[in-house]
């Protein structure tokens, strides 16, 4: 048996009470104890005897009073909570994302030490192959740096000099854009809560994507109401098209339909509005939104490219999804006539036959540009030229 004095670690709390943080000194001493040692606490704080007894009991430490001091022996379960803890990483590099994220890691920071009785969390998207993109950290950083303030980034007070009917066309196009951007927010938002937060950068990118769409909804609304009290038309066909996107339960397919085909086509539309918008405000909101959308498309392309490389059969699923969506929408009107006409008039800028011809040609060229873009992106995912052409042709006439 060791002499008693060698088993005792003295802790002098001075006049510091447990109600002022003295438990930290006691805990520190207990942490330095081996199981055979005890700590002897001295102190002059008024409530120390009472608080130390209650605190020790709650922590499972043995408490005794001896010769004007208090003796604490460490609870046998002192470090039991962490005995079987696991690192939320799954890789050698503690902070790199693993191939599979355990439901037992929950929302722990990647690389954190997780208590083994953490309840299981239900994150449906917990495999790296189904969500990851090596470009995500870079795209998140770009996106975070590129956030713009709708109040100051757009020249809201610049003059509008175009004819009233052209303004009506702008309002209709903005109404259509708001509706589409609402869907473009809702779709990633649905999956945002299902991606395992172990893949932090993916969650961050999707969160920024939602924030981007929120701003787009705001600036398009504000532009529409610059000179009008009411918005334009919303059609059943347009909404049905967006509903098929919203209801798609598979993350990869939803990303494919939304970003590779839909937002990709929208990118062309926004650059068209930037080029042909009749006023500085329209051109500005189109440009700012197009820059954001380009990141969304780049992200989806990147993670779907990775997904296709690891699971080549998923291309056939994408193709079937495009076909199924086409079947579902074939009896709808597609792009509403008002939007198409609005785009023509907006690009024409006036009512002369020559201007209308110019506007019409521009919209036809826009549709060709959209088709080329879609085919290019499909090729990047490994579709052959023939497959890409067929799939692009089946894409919804509503653009998104």
């Amino acid at each position: 048996m060791e002499p008693l004095r060698e088993r005792i670690i003295d802790v002098d709390l001075g006049d510091l009470g447990l109600d002022e943080g003295a438990h930290l000194l006691v805990q520190r001493a207990l942490a330095q104890c081996d199981p055979a040692q005890v700590i002897r606490v001295r102190g002059t704080a008024h409530a120390l005897a009472v608080d130390l007894r209650g605190w020790a009991r709650a922590q499972g430490h043995r408490f005794e009073v001896s010769e004007g001091a208090w003796i604490l022996s460490r609870s046998a379960s002192y470090d039991g909570r962490w005995r079987n803890a696991v690192r939320a990483s799954g890789t050698d590099a503690a902070t790199s994302p693993g191939e599979h994220a355990s439901s037992r890691w929950g929302v722990a920071a990647r690389g954190a030490l997780v208590e083994d009785s953490v309840p299981a969390w239900d994150f449906a998207l917990g495999d790296k192959d189904s969500v990851w993109s090596d470009d995500a950290p870079r795209l998140y950083a770009m996106g975070a740096a590129a956030q713009w303030d709708p109040a100051t980034a757009v020249p809201w007070s610049s003059e509008l000099t175009h004819p009233a009917e052209v303004e009506d066309a702008v309002v209709q196009v903005m109404t259509y854009l708001i509706e589409n951007e609402t869907a473009a927010l809702q779709v990633p938002a649905r999956f945002l809560g299902r991606v395992h937060p172990h893949y932090r950068e993916i969650v961050q990118v999707l969160a920024l994507q939602c924030a981007d769409e929120a701003r787009h909804m705001e600036v398009f609304t504000r532009r529409a109401l610059l000179q009008r009290d009411a918005l334009g038309l919303s059609t059943a066909g347009g909404q049905r098209s967006l509903q098929t996107l919203y209801e798609e339960p598979d993350y990869a397919i939803a990303s494919f339909l939304l970003s590779v085909l839909g937002e990709g086509s929208f990118l062309s539309l926004l650059w068209f509005l930037h080029a042909h918008g009749p006023d500085e405000v329209t051109r500005s909101v189109a440009k700012l939104s197009a820059q954001d959308e380009a990141r969304h498309v780049a992200f989806s392309l990147s993670h779907l490219q990775r997904h296709c490389e690891r699971e080549p059969a998923i291309r056939a699923k994408f193709a079937r999804a495009v076909d199924a969506r086409h079947q579902a929408l074939q009896h709808t009107a597609g792009l509403n006539r008002e939007v198409f006409d609005g785009l023509v008039l907006l690009a024409a800028g006036g009512w002369s036959p020559a201007a209308l011809r110019r506007g019409h040609h521009a919209v036809i060229a826009l549709q060709q540009t959209m088709d080329e873009g879609r085919r290019g992106r499909l090729a990047r995912l490994g579709f052959s030229a023939g497959e890409a052409e067929a799939l692009s042709a089946l894409h919804t006439r509503n653009f998104m």
Partner: protein, 283 residues
């Protein structure tokens, strides 16, 4: 219908979490091949009566209901035994708090004043501290007025609300002293109920014990032994057991002992608190 061989525990539902706790224990025991079930009562007296009637096998008793069961059993020529308790049930104390800037500096200064306590049947926040004050020479309702905070009477102070209300009364000036369990002095400072240093400890009781698992001599011995063995075998290191232990407020189950209830026994004799109930059930 086949006979149910579950070992049944009686507990008082002082909070909705009680269902979660014992349902968790039921599953924990089931996973170890031990059929266990529980029944809940709204108050301890009903539980004691049911226990003596043979409605269940083991009672999760408050200190007061342990004494109630003990005294009721004696009248029937029966015997109770405390077979297990939490580590946190041993060697508690209660304290009497006063305002640091107030006039009460000693126990005798309480004469003519108001002492706030918890529920009338709370061992820790009423009965034991009032007994302690009586042994110090100041008797409740003779030397000072008692301001009770009857939160959930019948639940023997398991609900902390009565103690919190007693401290509020002290802070607000409605009382000159307040009785609480030792650990709540620190808990209440930490939750901001009163400012550090604003209250002082006037006096502290001797250590006493709190809850225990109580059986009657007629309990099936093998199943009782298995129940006790499984309880005492629960380890805080075990991720299945740990959440249950944390919810029930312990690190480790220990042997039961009946030596820590003398202050409470003296209190119920002095203040004659359980006699009417005992007369009714034995009469």
């Amino acid at each position: 219908m086949t006979k149910d061989h579950s070992f049944v525990l009686g507990a008082v539902a002082y909070d909705p979490k009680v269902v979660t706790i014992w349902e968790g224990f039921r599953q924990y025991f089931a996973a170890r091949g031990f059929a266990f079930d529980f029944v809940l009562y709204t108050h301890y007296e009903r539980q004691v009566e049911a226990h003596l009637r043979g409605d269940f096998d083991v009672a999760w008793n408050s200190p007061l209901s342990w004494l109630e069961a003990q005294r009721y059993a004696v009248t029937l020529g029966r015997r109770v035994e405390a077979i297990a308790m939490r580590d946190s049930d041993r060697d508690l104390t209660s304290v009497v708090l006063v305002r640091a800037d107030g006039p009460v500096k000693s126990v005798t200064d309480l004469k003519g004043r108001i002492v706030a306590v918890g529920a009338s049947d709370s061992p820790q926040a009423t009965l034991i501290p009032l007994e302690h004050l009586a042994t110090q020479g100041v008797l409740a309702e003779r030397d000072f007025t008692v301001l009770r905070h009857d939160v959930m009477v019948g639940k023997h102070g398991d609900h902390v609300g009565g103690e919190r209300d007693a401290v509020r009364a002290l802070i607000n000036g409605d009382a000159d002293a307040a009785c609480v369990i030792d650990g709540n002095h620190l808990s209440f400072v930490r939750e901001g109920l009163f400012a550090q240093g604003s209250l002082q400890i006037l006096t502290q009781t001797a250590p006493y014990d709190h809850c225990n698992m109580t059986v009657l001599e007629s309990v099936p011995p093998a199943r009782c032994a298995r129940f006790r063995e499984l309880l005492l075998g629960m380890s805080f290191d075990d991720p299945e057991a740990r959440p249950l232990l944390e919810m029930e407020g312990l690190r480790q189950w220990l042997d039961g002992r009946d030596t820590g209830y003398t202050q409470l026994a003296a209190a119920i004799d002095r203040f004659d608190t359980i006699a009417p109930w005992l007369a009714r059930v034995t009469g």
